[in-house]
Symmetry: C2
Subunit: 432 residues, 2 copies
């Protein structure tokens, strides 16, 4: 039985899950792989707190470098989170020829290029299944199972907190603030929720997936990100009446030699599987040019689900060490054949618009005229009963048009004196 | 650039898809993997038929052994189907130290043990992603992504033909025979549909998955299989009224030291994701003890989807050859820690029963008494308006009870002189 020494950096929620998973299923893993995974050292700033899992105190240290330098440790598992310290530790580990497993999407999204390069230079593995989709083996699916596919599109519900909030807003007709507060109390949202609800966490994951799909390191600053903070119950309701649910989607597309990466609340047809993804669950639908659509669904976060992904990576890396095939599947492969990022102004999409209009004759004609002049064609119009003072909400679903034209048209509409409040807009995704 | 010689056995639908995929995305695969996959030879009994894909005639031969013996061929792709000839060719290939990729579930289900052993003895790869779930990378997910998980249950919609028929029966209220006929005309069902509609194909796939999940070669003869031939529109309708859809499920479970493998039409709650899997699609939901539920969805068959899985396997195998790490992930690992197969008589389940009863006072009491004596407790009863002569359908949903008791109880019920037709029964799955 070959023994693999593991060093854990970060003994938080996921770290404790990994330790527990090893304790519970280490025997199973041994029988399945012929490898004995041995936890040699654990580094954390706090070595006293009870994590609900029994570990020999002698394994614990506050000195991460002593773990990285331990000659018995061949695999470093980075679960510290954050960017600066984690980056430092991973680079040091790679330099010393140690394989690294990480769940750190923020780090990969912001410094992936540097880390992938360092892994490549050292000829060791850098695995990161747990960085996207928790327990869902989506990284493996993308870079191995679907390796023969050009990824024409990918749609992801990648943030459990956002999906939980949107699901509860819909089911209970509650406003965003109220649901967020309850989610925080229930532990489904952080005290500082911005990373989740403003779409940044989703964007980090989208950039990690895009690097795999398109062989490029995309800059976070170039990615169009809208979160769910502004989503109102009224639009969830109207969307529902029209057969849609609002989901925060990460969308990757390749078409006409350009790549789109965007994160925004999106109207998804209720009959589509992604619309059925409720609560804290994540799902990713990938359209490959050979496989067609495949969809992956599971818990996107949490101690155990994420630990499952980390352990899967540890096994993979350990297999490579045992068989002398490190970097068998590179962390990243550059590919310049996929074109550049499409400017968000040039993205084409269908739109849901909610206008707040004075209930006067001729109003709709004015709006239709503005849209028409910006080459936006109307698919359907619904005037709603709900009235706010002298204004009524009017819902317009459009045909596909260019983002930049919408911005201009909406600016013009909102400048009309008969408009009561800024126009609300959501993109509609029909998955065609 | 390392070159990998591929020999294709069987130039049918999937074979043509593989050739087309290689032609279309060979460059992409090269850029992603650094490997050039070169199709060296194709064996088929028919070398003249047009498959809609251009190949150099010199590649074609009717002599499969010449492909297997070709020194330039390192990877044999078996897409002949059937059991005897395919088995022979795969064994010969493995003996000669060639890696094998196959999509042949029937062969693996019936002779897997022998083939896995031969691959192990030769120290080469035997990959079979395409044998289950078409383009869905479920084999990879099970044996790599979820390697740290005890598989507590797995539910699969594994046969597109059956799912297509059941979906259309429900949507259009049509009888089985009529939909089967139309499916045959549309090419969604074979002229000899038994393998699909009698559940055998699903059972083959279930046995392949069970071998991975539980480290045992289960005998097809020991697996409980019911197909969809007897499914009637009336039950699809009644199930719908009660909030269920009827799906042909493969169910694997491990509990109390025993394993269940069974295939049968099942009532699935309509709110469950598996109930939303329509038409020819496949889906597999896996419950791992660490990852929780993960679900995989995609096209379960067809030229392109299956080709995607075959190509993914070819790449994996080629990576192992290039890196000198063949059999890095063994085709099968024996594990005797999972207990034996539970006898189907001992399986516990909830049931939907449709009885055909004379509309007389006291009938229900008689039936309830019989069920009670067999320790089957009733959850709810619905008497339906539809009348067949003097008989009315009565639907009983039961609490969980043992299969053997149901058989005995139904035998007793059907012997009552007030019963008009044999009792129809379906198992209900609540996924708890």
């Amino acid at each position: 039985m070959k023994e693999m020494g593991i060093g854990l950096l970060g003994f938080g929620t996921v770290g404790a899950g990994v330790v527990e998973g090893l304790q519970r299923n280490g025997g199973l893993i041994e029988r399945r792989t012929g490898l004995r995974l041995v936890l040699k050292r654990i580094a954390d700033l706090d070595v006293d707190r009870d994590r609900g899992v029994a570990v020999d105190r002698s394994l614990l240290t506050t000195d991460a470098m002593s773990v990285i330098d331990d000659p018995e440790v061949g695999i470093i598992v980075e679960l510290i989170g954050g960017v600066d310290v984690a980056r430092e530790f991973i680079l040091k580990s790679l330099e010393r020829g140690k394989a690294v497993v990480t769940a750190n999407k923020a780090l990969l999204a912001e410094h992936g290029k540097e880390l992938y390069r360092a892994a490549d230079a050292a000829g060791v593995d850098l695995y990161y299944e747990a960085s996207v989709g928790g327990g869902i083996p989506i990284i493996r699916a993308l870079r191995e199972g679907l390796v023969a596919n050009r990824i024409q599109s990918l749609y992801g519900i990648l943030n459990g907190t956002c999906n939980y909030i949107l699901t509860r807003m819909e089911q209970e007709g509650l406003p965003f603030d109220r649901v967020l507060e309850e989610a925080q109390e229930a532990g489904y949202a952080e005290a500082e929720p911005g990373l989740d609800i403003d779409g940044l966490d989703t964007a980090h994951k989208a950039v990690v997936l895009a690097a795999l799909a398109y062989g490029q390191s995309f800059d976070m600053a170039d990615v169009s990100v809208e979160g769910i903070r502004e989503v109102e119950s009224i639009d969830i309701g109207f969307a529902g009446d029209l057969g849609y649910r609002i989901k925060l989607l990460a969308i990757l597309k390749e078409s006409e030699g350009q790549i789109e990466i965007r994160i925004h609340p999106t109207l998804v047809p209720r009959a589509h599987l992604l619309a059925s993804v409720g609560g804290v669950f994540n799902a990713i639908m990938v359209h490959g040019d050979v496989a067609g659509d495949t969809l992956y669904h599971g818990r996107g976060a949490g101690r155990e689900a994420t630990a499952s992904a980390v352990l899967g990576d540890i096994v993979d890396v350990a297999r490579n060490i045992a068989r002398g095939s490190p970097a068998r599947v590179p962390a990243f492969v550059h590919d310049d054949q996929h074109g550049s990022l499409r400017r968000v102004e040039d993205v084409r999409s269908r739109y849901y618009l909610r206008l707040s209009l004075k209930d006067e004759p001729g109003m709709l004609a004015k709006v239709a005229d503005i849209l028409g002049r910006h080459r936006i064609s109307i698919a359907s119009v619904f005037q709603k009963e709900e009235r706010t003072g002298e204004y009524v909400p009017v819902i317009i679903l459009t045909h596909r048009a260019v983002e930049g034209n919408f911005r201009d048209a909406i600016k013009e509409i909102d400048a009309l004196k008969e408009v009561g409040a800024p126009t609300v807009r959501y993109r509609i995704e029909d998955f065609d």
